[in-house]
Symmetry: C2
């Protein structure tokens, strides 16, 4: 086992994942905790850090520490202002924010990214930039999707995030099923229904501009007995994901393989949806944030080249 070189944390809204990294960003040890920033009292971040990895900190007092994700937001430990696209690991590393921890130790926090789309409207991500930096090779043109509450689609060239777009797919799904008439006919705990999901994907992708209208089909197909209560959640999920894919693919000239960076469940759903659309995909590695932290720390000079 190589010597520890970096302690890195991907610290999100609802949970965190901590990595003890060796040479080349090899994961020596990884841990999860549910102390996401929304679950930690303001002022309690140092304690949450200790709870996650006091043993690592004690055993390796000189090891650099790097945090990414919502921990750098206004609601986090210390705000790391967004870094504007285009941005690669080097550009990001120049905007790290330093935080003193007691007398002898400090940490750095990775900023999120901002981009300005058409019409001058800004978009932001925080945490995903580190996954992207870790997942994609330093050369070539890539399209990555990070599905979730707020999906992010990022256009990456030679390791540089050129631009990206957020889609509120996951949160809209939760709001529609939980707080509109569409949820009333659904059996919320139903298992995934592949056929209903596929039907939703096709209908959503065909005309994403009509989403506000087509989502009503998650009621009428139930009313007319074409889809049962257990099929409707998968159908609506497919409809939203299909709309997302249909819209996002129009925003990009990218014609190659799409890289999916998500949890296993979402990666599976998006892989199915892309396959229905005839778009080739590959799944990123589960812990790409670890390699992203490593690459950003390296670019920042926090650790030396091996």
């Amino acid at each position: 086992m190589s010597a520890p070189r970096l302690i890195g944390l991907d610290w999100g809204t609802s949970s965190l994942r901590a990595y003890l990294l060796g040479g080349n960003g090899t994961i020596l040890e990884a841990r999860s905790a549910d102390s996401g920033i929304m679950r930690v009292e303001s002022g309690g971040f140092a304690q949450a850090l200790d709870a996650a990895c006091a043993d690592w900190l004690a055993a390796h007092p000189a090891l650099p520490l790097l945090l990414a994700g919502m921990i750098g937001s206004k609601q986090g430990w210390l705000e790391a202002p967004y870094c504007a696209c285009p941005a690669d690991a080097r550009v990001i590393s120049q905007s790290l924010v330093r935080l003193q921890l007691g007398d002898t130790r400090s940490t750095h926090i990775v900023p999120g990214l901002s981009t300005t789309g058409v019409s001058g409207v800004p978009d932001v991500m925080r945490g995903e930039e580190t996954q992207i930096i870790g997942a994609l090779p330093a050369t070539g043109s890539h399209l990555a999707v990070l599905p979730g509450t707020h999906s992010k689609w990022a256009w990456v060239e030679n390791g540089t995030v050129r631009g990206f777009a957020s889609f509120m797919t996951g949160e809209v799904y939760a709001a529609l099923t939980g707080h509109t008439i569409l949820g009333r006919m659904m059996r919320a705990d139903a298992p995934h229904d592949g056929a209903a999901f596929a039907r939703g994907v096709a209908y959503g992708r065909e005309a994403p501009e009509a989403l506000l209208s087509r989502m009503f089909s998650a009621r009428t197909l139930g009313l007319f007995g074409q889809l049962g209560q257990a099929a409707l959640p998968s159908y609506l999920s497919g409809l939203l994901i299909g709309s997302e894919i249909g819209a996002a693919m129009r925003m990009t000239p990218h014609a190659g393989t799409v890289t999916i960076l998500g949890n296993p469940n979402l990666t599976q759903r998006y892989t199915e949806a892309f396959a229905l659309a005839g778009i080739p995909t590959q799944a990123g590695t589960a812990d790409c944030a670890a390699l992203g932290l490593w690459r950003i720390a390296l670019a920042a000079g926090l650790i030396g080249v091996d």
Copy 2:
């Protein structure tokens, strides 16, 4: 004052409106009550009818009675199955459902309409068909929008509803502001902000296919200080209405004046949004349901021609 000829009720989910109609559908008297079907216990509809117009029923024991709206839904008094488009007043009148009220009186209930769009997916309306029949002339080609919780867009030719599409605009607005991150930065009770609304309309209408993405701007424009908390509700409202208009106008070859049938507040918002898009509009009369009830009753032979 002409003699009463018909008692008609537009009986919706949250409220009802009752009309005493004279010759040519002239409104002799009109009343509102908040005894919509969701506020009436099952089995309490006869009592709610009496509460609304027992005096009319007693004074005119032979007068025909016609009910339209959600009162004919599964959750209403008696289900009046949907009538398939294309449908005019005559087709609708052939599908009225009759309900006996005590020994000496009956009422008829107007069915909703169904249509089958592309991909074989059904859509439905209930209550709006009566407003459309009342609002539009018997000749010419018309496009009508009935904004609301579920907006309806209807294509009408020579008094016949050829087809229509629902848009969940109002309910999605409520779900997004009440149950997603977008609502957190908003001052919910803020007055209408015309400039923010117009900005939202333009951004939504420009690319309705990107709605799932563009709605996130109601967060980022707040984050970046471009729109204040008081402006964001109007902005999001405009974004959704702009997306609706952009999508709906692509579904129809209609190039003339659009008829808006809604409450004064929504009519005003949609009029603003259409004006920004350079689309001419006219507002329908407030009580078009009354004339719709009259025309359907006439077509059904419930009342004789004057």
